[in-house]
């Protein structure tokens, strides 16, 4: 077990101990929510894991790195960023997916662009955002998010 996994599990344990010492009924309720969300996200987790297995097996690293590797430069980052903006994958699952494309030859910048646009921009939730906050604010937030996501990705690419 990696140290990260241990930290996460200890943190969860800490939450549980705190919860139990405060309020049993509420603890039960929060565990119910946890179990429900676990089984709700499970099929998508498995789909992504199968996809990663197929991707790393059948798509040679040279192909991946040709499109989104170091030498694909700015255009590669932009393409992956666009892909991340339109895809609708639970944010939690963008990380194993990103790790797999990084492993098979994508550049650090492209990987960062994928995660950042995927989590920051919500094309599916955009109508709701417009309804609640108005067209101007929602469009500004999502549009500018794309710009800063690319900027963040490029800086990470330079530093790491």
């Amino acid at each position: 077990m990696s140290s990260t996994a241990i930290v996460i599990n200890v943190l969860a344990g800490g939450c549980l101990v705190f919860a139990l010492s405060k309020d049993r009924a509420k603890t039960k309720q929060s565990l119910k929510i946890a179990a429900r969300s676990f089984f709700r996200i499970l099929p998508t987790v498995l789909i992504i894991i199968i996809l990663i297995g197929l991707l790393l097996t059948f798509v040679p690293p040279s192909e991946i790195s040709r499109f989104v590797g170091e030498q694909s430069g700015f255009v590669g980052v932009l393409l992956v960023g666009l892909l991340g903006a339109v895809l609708h994958i639970p944010a939690l699952l963008s990380f194993p997916l990103a790790a797999s494309i990084l492993k098979s030859g994508a550049s650090v910048a492209a990987t960062a662009a994928f995660i950042t646009t995927l989590t920051m921009i919500g094309t599916v939730t955009l109508p709701l955002e417009i309804k609640e906050l108005g067209k101007k604010m929602a469009l500004l937030r999502n549009g500018l998010s794309f710009v800063i996501a690319i900027a963040i990705a490029l800086i990470i690419g330079v530093i790491l």
Binding site: T4, L11, A34, I47, I50, L133, K136, M137, I156
Partner: protein, 190 residues
């Protein structure tokens, strides 16, 4: 309204399990054509599966804990009136608490604006809710390492703050223009 949501979630879950079935069938079909790749696919998938299962239940417990213990009212109480650097940092921090999907945050944000909260804080709060969630950072740490996760986190906070201040300016300038225009009109009619 709540029942409606539940129904929708159940439908989405059934759809996801159906998609999983389809994915499995396609994978089996592909592996029947390339039986020699079976080992690689199962090894890679198994590796990611164990890595995910070591953390996913714990992440869900943390999310469930915050969903019950931190309510929308708590958020309103803390974000309604703070300003300056403190307001921005508080927006990041509260937005990062795992309280559910982004669409829950929109009505909270709308209510905060009506109460007179700063636009910059609201933008930072929404962006933090979308992409600086505590469980997300933990999963990122697991799969991409401390350096990547920490750097991306710091850069995101900086850029989201800049974006928040910029959008605040744009929106407030727009509002001023509108009020001027309306004022001019009413002045003419007097």
């Amino acid at each position: 309204m709540k029942e409606d949501m539940k129904q929708k979630q159940r439908k989405a879950m059934i759809r996801d399990y159906a998609l999983l079935g389809i994915a499995l069938i396609i994978t089996v079909a592909i592996l029947l054509v390339f039986p020699d790749r079976l080992d690689t696919v199962t090894t890679v998938s198994w590796e990611y599966f164990t890595e995910m299962m070591l953390i996913l239940p714990a992440v869900m417990v943390i999310m469930g804990f915050f969903a019950v213990w931190v309510s929308g009212e708590t958020v309103m109480k803390y974000l309604g009136k703070t300003s300056g650097i403190k307001g921005i940092l508080l927006s990041v921090f509260i937005g990062a608490l795992p309280m559910g999907p982004l669409y829950i945050a929109f009505p909270i944000a709308a209510a905060l604006i009506k109460k007179g909260a700063r636009i910059a804080n609201i933008i930072v709060f929404l962006s933090a809710w979308a992409c600086i969630k505590l469980p997300q950072e933990l999963v990122e740490l697991q799969f991409l390492g401390l350096e990547f996760m920490a750097l991306r986190l710091v850069l995101t906070i900086i850029f989201v703050t800049i974006m928040g201040l910029f959008i605040e300016r744009v929106i407030e300038r727009g509002d001023k223009k509108e009020t001027k225009f309306v004022g001019g009109k009413s002045g003419a009619s007097v």
